[in-house]
C-alpha cells in the first residue's frame, strides 16, 4: 500500500515538474470557467457561495496566487446570476505585489431543462469590470503584465453551453472594450525579459471546452477532465517610447489547455473542489501576462 502511495506521489510530482519546465497557458479563471453556474445544483438550492484560490507558475520567475469569491443566485430553474471577485498576489524579481483584480457579473439562462438523455442548452452573458488599471508599480517601477492583478479592461463575455449525458461542450467569446493603462516599456525597465505593454490594446479571445463527467458510485466524487481551446483573434499592440502604436508580432493564435477538476461532496450542501491545469499548445508571444506553466486550484462551495 505504502509503495503504491509513493508511486502515486512520485508520478504526481514528475507530472507537475515536467509541465513546469515546458508549458504555458490559460489562467483567467473568470473566462476559463464560464458555464458553471448550474452544475450539480439541486432544485431546492437558491444560493451558493464559493471561495477558492489558484496558485500558478507564470512567466520567467513569476508565481501567482489568485484568491476569489463567487456568489450565485438561482432565480428560477432556468435563470441564474453570479458575481465573482478576484484578487492576485504576484511574486518575482520585481518584488511582491497584491491587489484586487476584477468583478465578473454573469447571467446564465437554460434554454431547456430536458431529461438526462436529451441535450441541454444554456447561454451566458456577462461583463468583466476591472478593479485596477493594470498599472501597478513597485518603488515607482512600472510592472509588466504578469505582475498585474487585472487585464485592466472592461470585457463582454458571451457563450453557449451544451450538456448531453456525461459530456459538456462550452463555447464563449471575450471581447475587451478598451485599452488598459499599463505603462511597462522594456526599454525603460531593468530587464528585457518581458514584452512592452504600455497602454496595451488586447484583442478578443474565443474559447471552446469539452468536458467529460465521471461520478463515483457513492456520488461523493465527481471528476471532470476537460480540454480547453482558446484562440486569440488578433495581434495585440502597445504604445512605444515615441508615442506610436506598435503591433506585437505573433501574439495571436491558439492555446490548448488540459484541466482536471475533482469535486468532493462533504455533505448535502458542502463541496470542495481541486483542479490542476496545464497548457499543451501556446501562442508564440503572450504579452497579456496570463501565461502559466501550470495551475493548481482549491475551492470550497456551500449551497444554501
Amino acid at each position: 500500500m505504502k509503495n503504491k502511495l509513493k508511486k502515486a506521489l512520485l508520478f504526481s510530482t514528475l507530472f507537475i515538474l515536467g509541465y513546469t519546465a515546458n508549458a504555458q497557458g490559460c489562467s483567467d479563471a473568470g473566462f476559463c470557467s464560464v458555464g458553471n453556474t448550474f452544475k450539480d445544483a439541486q432544485s431546492e438550492i437558491k444560493n451558493s457561495i464559493e471561495i477558492g484560490g489558484v496558485y500558478g507558475v507564470g512567466e520567467e520567475d513569476v508565481t501567482v496566487f489568485s484568491p476569489y469569491a463567487i456568489y450565485t443566485r438561482i432565480f428560477t430553474n432556468r435563470f441564474a446570476m453570479s458575481a465573482k471577485l478576484t484578487a492576485t498576489t504576484a511574486n518575482g524579481s520585481f518584488g511582491t505585489i497584491s491587489n484586487l483584480g476584477d468583478v465578473f457579473v454573469t447571467g446564465n439562462y437554460k434554454f431547456n431543462t430536458g431529461d438526462y438523455d436529451k441535450s441541454k442548452w444554456s447561454g451566458i452573458l456577462g461583463v468583466k469590470i476591472p478593479l485596477t488599471a493594470s498599472n501597478d508599480k513597485i518603488n515607482n517601477f512600472s510592472l509588466p503584465m504578469p505582475y498585474q492583478s487585472s487585464l485592466g479592461t472592461f470585457d463582454v463575455i458571451t457563450g453557449l453551453d451544451l450538456a448531453i449525458k456525461k459530456w459538456e461542450f462550452s463555447t464563449a467569446v471575450q471581447i475587451p472594450l478598451n485599452q488598459n493603462k499599463n505603462s511597462y516599456l522594456s526599454q525603460l525597465a531593468p530587464t528585457d525579459k518581458f514584452d512592452s505593454t504600455n497602454l496595451l490594446e488586447r484583442k478578443s479571445d474565443v474559447l471552446f471546452r469539452a468536458t467529460y463527467k465521471i461520478k463515483t458510485e457513492n456520488q461523493k466524487f465527481i471528476f471532470r477532465p476537460n480540454v480547453l481551446f482558446i484562440y486569440h483573434l488578433g495581434k495585440d499592440s502597445f504604445e512605444n517610447v515615441f508615442g506610436q502604436r506598435q503591433t506585437i508580432q505573433n501574439s495571436e493564435g491558439l492555446t490548448i489547455n488540459g484541466n482536471l477538476i475533482t469535486s468532493y461532496r462533504l455533505s448535502e450542501k458542502n463541496y470542495i473542489e481541486a483542479s490542476i491545469a496545464t497548457p499543451f499548445v501556446v501562442r508564440e508571444v503572450r504579452p497579456d501576462g496570463l501565461t502559466r506553466a501550470f495551475t493548481i486550484g482549491l475551492s470550497y462551495k456551500r449551497n444554501f
Partner: protein, 144 residues
Amino acid sequence: MKKLFFLIGMTFFFSSCEKEGVLTKGSNPIPTINNTAVLKYSGTFVPTSGITVQGNVNIYAQGNKYQLQIENITITDGPDLKVYLSKSDTPSSFVNLGNFKGNGTSVYDIPAQVDVSEYPYVLIHCQQYNHLFAIAELISKQSN
C-alpha cells in the same frame, strides 16, 4: 455563514500589499550627470491649470549621449506621471523618458536615436488620466 464572509474579507484585506524585489530596490544604478558633460538646453517648468510647479530642466551632452536633468522640482502629486521630450507643448509627438522620479533632482537617459534639437519642450504628463501637469520650453545654451 458569518465565518465564511469573515474569511473572504480577510483574504482580500491581506491581498493589498507590496514589497520590493531585486529589480526594484533603490540600490539599482541611478543615472547621474558626469562632471564633464556639456549643458546644451535648459528651461523652467510652468504649470497647467490647477497644478503648481517650480523647477528647472537641463539637457546635457557627453559625446553622443544626451541626458535630461530635472532640477529642484516641486510639483503637485499625481498618478502615473511621465517625463516626455516633446515636439510641441502638448503630448502629441514625443519621446517617453519614463516615470517621473519625484520631487527634487533626477536624471533621465535620452535614447541614442533621438535628435534632441527636434524636441523643444519637456512635459510632465499623467499618462493614466491623460492630463498634462507642466511644460518647460527649452532654450539652447550654445550656438552650435
